[in-house]
Symmetry: C2
Subunit: 384 residues, 2 copies
Amino acid sequence: MKILHTSDWHLGRQFHNVSLLEDQQAVIEQLIQFIKKNPVDVVLVAGDIYDRSVPPTAAIELLNSVVKRICNELNTPMIFISGNHDGAERLGFGAKQMKSAGLHIISNFDDMLTPVVIDTETAGEVAFYGMPYNDPEQVRFSFKAQVSTHNEAHQLLAGKITEQFNASQRNVLISHCFVDGAIESDSERPLSIGGSDRVSHEHFLHFDYVALGHLHQPQKKGEDYIRYSGSLMKYSFGEQHQKKGFTLVELDHNGFVSAEHVELTAPHEMRILEGKLAQVIEQGKTDPKNEDYLLVRLQDKHAILNPMEKLRSVYPNVLHIEKPGMLIGVEQELAQAKLSRSEVDMFKDFFIEAQDSELSTEQEQAISDIVKQLSASSQKKVKN
Amino acid sequence: MKILHTSDWHLGRQFHNVSLLEDQQAVIEQLIQFIKKNPVDVVLVAGDIYDRSVPPTAAIELLNSVVKRICNELNTPMIFISGNHDGAERLGFGAKQMKSAGLHIISNFDDMLTPVVIDTETAGEVAFYGMPYNDPEQVRFSFKAQVSTHNEAHQLLAGKITEQFNASQRNVLISHCFVDGAIESDSERPLSIGGSDRVSHEHFLHFDYVALGHLHQPQKKGEDYIRYSGSLMKYSFGEQHQKKGFTLVELDHNGFVSAEHVELTAPHEMRILEGKLAQVIEQGKTDPKNEDYLLVRLQDKHAILNPMEKLRSVYPNVLHIEKPGMLIGVEQELAQAKLSRSEVDMFKDFFIEAQDSELSTEQEQAISDIVKQLSASSQKKVKN
């Protein structure tokens, strides 16, 4: 049996005020083309399908077209669980009515305990249990149980599910959680503060495969069969070196056989460029991937006017600029020289950029006087 | 064949800051109980299922439980169209996947041209065409047609549908529009300004039954078989005398047989009470329906402190107060006496209400002086 395990689509996500919907569509298109050529028995999406509980209309339309193509046209069932970004009730509308068309949206505990059973020649009956994302308070409330951490909540939920096991079936779990010891990325929203969101992988040992969502880096944790597929695409510059895609899993009558990461490529990659402004611009002139979403770290030591405009002449999708070089310069000068001197220097840089000429002696004197005056008055305030 | 025609549920509506969801749930419960005792072949909801394009989660949960009970438990198909209050794309998510469970949500023109066909012994095959609400711009854009009014848009859409007719089938249309000459209520949101939203009933003559939504008063227009079911319940005080409910329609092999209005009663009716404060309070003490949602028109001629608090001691759900009596009093005095005199009177009323005693002669003099002073200074300003 072939299982396509994906998660964290975050449809409708904005990145530095840019909509990622077209990139998301293009990446999902690759996933659909893969299924066309390499049919699978089921597609699992382990939560965070949308980026927020009330997703934009365009994200809903995209998901609608995707389920139409995968469930209806490719005749491949899909199982979704709600993640911490999804609005469970909103996502779950019509879930009961969609089941017969092979679209299974598991967003509440009742549905959690009724597995989706898929029967194949290669693995027999396999029961898919979806554990919708819930915080410990919801679990405590729903099961009237002493539960105060995510770990205790998962222990309880996993226990409820294993009680349902049918000995003649293999069992797959879909869950959205933070398994202890796994690697974070900086585009995930913490489930709770201070590490209390961590869950032991040991609750999951009885399953034949565990399809996890939440962490954006593909990885396995504890056992070969307990895996994060990682997010559909990069959602932060910190993920620039992560290989995004989905996990292709194989099960047979005895359970887990193998898992393989299949790469997907977004039209715009997220990358970090470092260098002096002139170097970065020069490089951009011949960069075949010049439309990528970029964070540029400028190493110039002087102030630059309109660096975004200059960079975007070659890299149209620069989304953010950092200037570590310039900041180091200021700090060094602060240590070496008086504050008034350094601020005059800054102004001289600015004047050159803005006017294309240097300050006259009189102008420099005037600026210097003003800065001294301001500095004196602010020191007076500090003393008071 | 028995058709239950309803419309304008407006799930999630607020009325004077009060959620109507519990009332909506109770009224729909009556509708469900009716179907249990008197099975029907299909339930049509002619638009404005939700009150707004992004409905509150609780409204989504209510609709979800309703479709589960009607489609799944009572095994009765439902056909929805989107109205001007609904978010068509949002409502339409998963529509394709829900069809096999008997839930048909028609929210775009593609689905409009593919009828839901229901076959019964009593009427043979009946084709149900849903025309999702669209303004003329959307129709012009979608069909690349010269359309500038709602009437032209409906002519075109009805024409597209009648082209699809299969001679062996009866045909039912579900539409959300304002048929020319029909009676408005004050809880409908106008489709456009200045009467350009009116549609002739003549476009609909070729159908065997036309299930309309948008207008909140149950009524027929043009022909016996062209009908508004009216809204699920009252949504304004102006509708206090309207009989709310649904329309029960019968078709046979030759088409329309009969239509009957079946009444539904909300736990809280919307009513207007008129009288002096003391009378209204007296009446409230023995009013068995004292929890209704009320607009109270006070006929007292003097100012009253905290009338809402006083009324709510007997009628807890007074939502709005009008004081026509007091306003007439003020206007009359304005005409007869000087402004300064009338404001002193107002203050005397207030003082009695607040302190339970009358102004002393000195107090009255002081207030009168202040009012004169203020009045003189404001007249000075007007002259300047």
